[in-house]
Amino acid sequence: MSAALLVADIAVPPAAKRAPSLETAGMTKIFGPLVALDTVSIKVEAGSFHALLGENGAGKSTLVKCIMGFYAADRGSVLLDGKEVDVKSPRDARDLGIGMVYQHFTLVPCLTAAENLVISRADAPAIIDWKAEMPKLEAFMARMPFQVPLDRQVSTLSAGEKQKLEILKLLYLDQRFLILDEPTSVLTPGEADEVLGLLGQMAARGEITVLMISHKFREVKAFCDSFTVLRRGRLTGSGDARTATVAEMSSMMIGDTEVRERAERVMHNDRSAVLELAGLCAEDEEGRLAIDRVNLKIRSGEIVGIAGVSGNGQSALVEALAGQRPLSDGRVFIHGKPFEPKRSDFDRFKVYGLPEEPLKNATVPRMSVAENMAFRAFDKPPMASLGWWLSPGPMRRKAEGLIARYRVKTTSPDSPIEALSGGNVQRAVLARELSGEVDVLIVANPCFGLDFASVAEIRSQIMEQRNRGAAVLLVSEDLDEILELSDRVAVMSGGTISYVSPIGETDRNTIGQHMAGH
């Protein structure tokens, strides 16, 4: 009897409800003096895979947050299947079948995948009968295009599995309009292709409609059938993603600004190794090996880019080199001499760095811009006498010089550095780190979340240091950045370097396969 019921349960056609279409009409959102969205009207056809393109700050997130009911739009309306709907909260959106996958995870780490799915249901029973729920969940999982182990705690899942589970959760809740906010940033190229491809097939069968925020043209070209571009809160174009060219889309995105060129690269003759990592091991917070016997040599005048899906030890490697994470084994040599990540050694060997999230890792947010820019030299003349008596005058003058040279936008050298925008914090730290002579430069995700102009500037600064003969270790989750800047590529996977190749002898596919651990 129960088996028969079960079969009936599975036999319910998954596409009983059809994919909806969604339109916004004249959507406008104003935050104080900033018009974040200016009468934006987009149309996403039922069963389409629609890309929403735009630079950072173009208003993509604001638009989807208005659709989801996080923000109340100042003007404009949302039409679902042609009928105007009133979405006041994410709950309303859920009831209408509109679901969103955020850039940060909304799964509860301490619950298992199954618990996360069941509790997300509006009608979760007061007492959960796992004996009855598990077969239903397994049946659901079986008809889904990709699977995630149900009984594992979410905190033990990989980033890719979490992302898949986020999407599965929406499908489990029978949400037919999916909004994905840069869903592939934590996936390997292979996983990204798998997930997007399968969602694309579901859309093509008319089961779901997908609106994906993205800035990766490759994915948009490969999987989307239509697109909309926003720039500075306005709609600047839309069309068929299969026929539009990348150049057309990118000119809609960045407008009249020139697309940046590859930074000038000076060819060096083969030079000696400057930075040598010998068998580095370090543990994560839970005592597992975060990096496992990392060996790498970087020559002077060379950029080695470390590619990898986030969470494969790149952050731990940078932290270990910066002295934020103790090494459990291995040595670092610079010019053949042992290096300890201490202030005196950073000085002696001229090691500089731009860590990821510089506001957190390289500044004291509430101290002034001038003080933050003086971290490298505040205890040396002319900023200090006798090593302890600090003089604010020279400190300020030095900061003023750096602010002008690196075009850091700040109201004054005395304002707290946390008041600066992300790009300007990045520039301020870079100004501090590059103002002296650099032998070794360690950079992690230097352009994360920056606009086109800043990206070009920061990349050219890094290239300039290379051209002057510094050994540069570049850790980046952006494969394009690595392909643009590096002389050699190394791939990190599972805490160790699994692949090294000169840039000319490899391609995106090969790197992607090694990123996935093959």
Binding site: F105, I128, E285, E286
Partner: protein
């Protein structure tokens, strides 16, 4: 020490562990419930003392000790709810509020408790589980208060509910990731308020045990920091209600070393043995601070973990 003496000491320790552990168990379960929701209530010492006072007064006025227990729970519930309500105001730190409530609860108990120090109130009856043995020391050790079994049943229920009931999952969700809970339309503040109030109720019941069973009278020196040690105990038990019971038994046994040695006439180092639970607390704190798996199991929203 002869074999017989050792036997007496061990039996006395078992009995002592059962007696001493009960208040630990209730406070720890209350604290566990509160911390699972992502908030710490350090004020349980206040709940415990106020509970002891209210239980004693209630039992004295109504003549029913069980009514006293209920009233103690309600007093704890009010304190807990107040803590939960204050903590949901913006920029309020739950640890600071907890310390304030520790003093508040104790002060309140001392203020209203003065008239009840002298009179004698009806106590809770124990269940004699060891009478059939005919051995007086065993019979005495196995005089077990029903609240002990209530506590064990409660811990098993909580353990089960955290996995199998909707509110259990929502509580864990709130404690581990407030953002996800909010995204799901759960009122984080309300969940925490309810959890803190329920936790306060349990701590109040723990206090009732102190004044109505063991030591079994109301005076101002009744509690000796059990409410605070229970917080350490929850960390030691890694936020698992069933492990809370075992941890409480361990603490209880440590507390019973001194009295049981005294029962066979060894009074040397009496004060040292009486300090055993405190020393144990210290070592447990050090050990659990180093433990990586404790860090993994801690609810992610706790202010001490963040």
């Amino acid at each position: 020490m002869t074999g017989a003496d050792l036997f007496i000491v061990l039996i006395a320790m078992v009995g002592g562990a059962i007696r001493v552990s009960t208040p630990f168990m209730f406070v720890a379960l209350g604290e566990c419930l509160t911390e699972k929701s992502g908030r710490i209530n350090l004020g349980h010492e206040g709940n415990l003392v106020l509970g002891a006072m209210v239980a004693y007064a209630g039992s004295y006025t109504t003549g029913s000790p069980w009514l006293g227990v209920l009233m103690a729970g309600c007093a704890g519930l009010v304190l807990g709810a107040l803590h939960g309500w204050i903590c949901k105001l913006p920029k309020v730190n739950d640890i600071a509020v907890g310390i304030a409530f520790m003093s508040f609860g104790t002060g309140l108990a001392f203020f209203f408790g003065k008239p009840y120090i002298q009179p004698s109130a009806p106590r809770l009856e124990a269940i004699p589980l060891g009478d059939w043995t005919g051995n007086s020391s065993i019979a005495q050790a196995l005089q077990v208060n029903p609240l002990f079994f209530v506590g064990i049943a409660l811990s098993v229920f909580l353990w089960w509910a955290f996995r199998n009931m909707r509110w259990g999952l929502i509580l864990r969700m709130t404690g581990d990731s407030a953002a996800s809970a909010k995204a799901m339309g759960v009122s984080v503040d309300m969940v925490r308020l309810l959890a803190t109030a329920a936790g306060g109720f349990l701590a109040g019941v723990g206090g009732a045990f102190l004044s109505l069973y063991y030591p079994g009278s109301w005076n101002e020196g009744l509690s000796s920091g059990q409410g605070l040690m229970a917080v350490a105990l929850v960390i030691f038990a890694r936020w698992d209600p069933v492990r809370c019971v075992f941890a409480a038994l361990l603490f209880g046994a440590a507390g019973a070393i001194g009295p049981s040695l005294q029962s066979i006439g060894i009074s040397q180092g009496y004060y040292f043995f009486n300090a055993a639970p405190y020393i144990l607390t210290l070592f447990i704190m050090i050990a659990s601070a180093r433990s990586k798996s404790a860090a993994r199991e801690a609810p992610g929203e706790l202010s001490i973990v963040k």
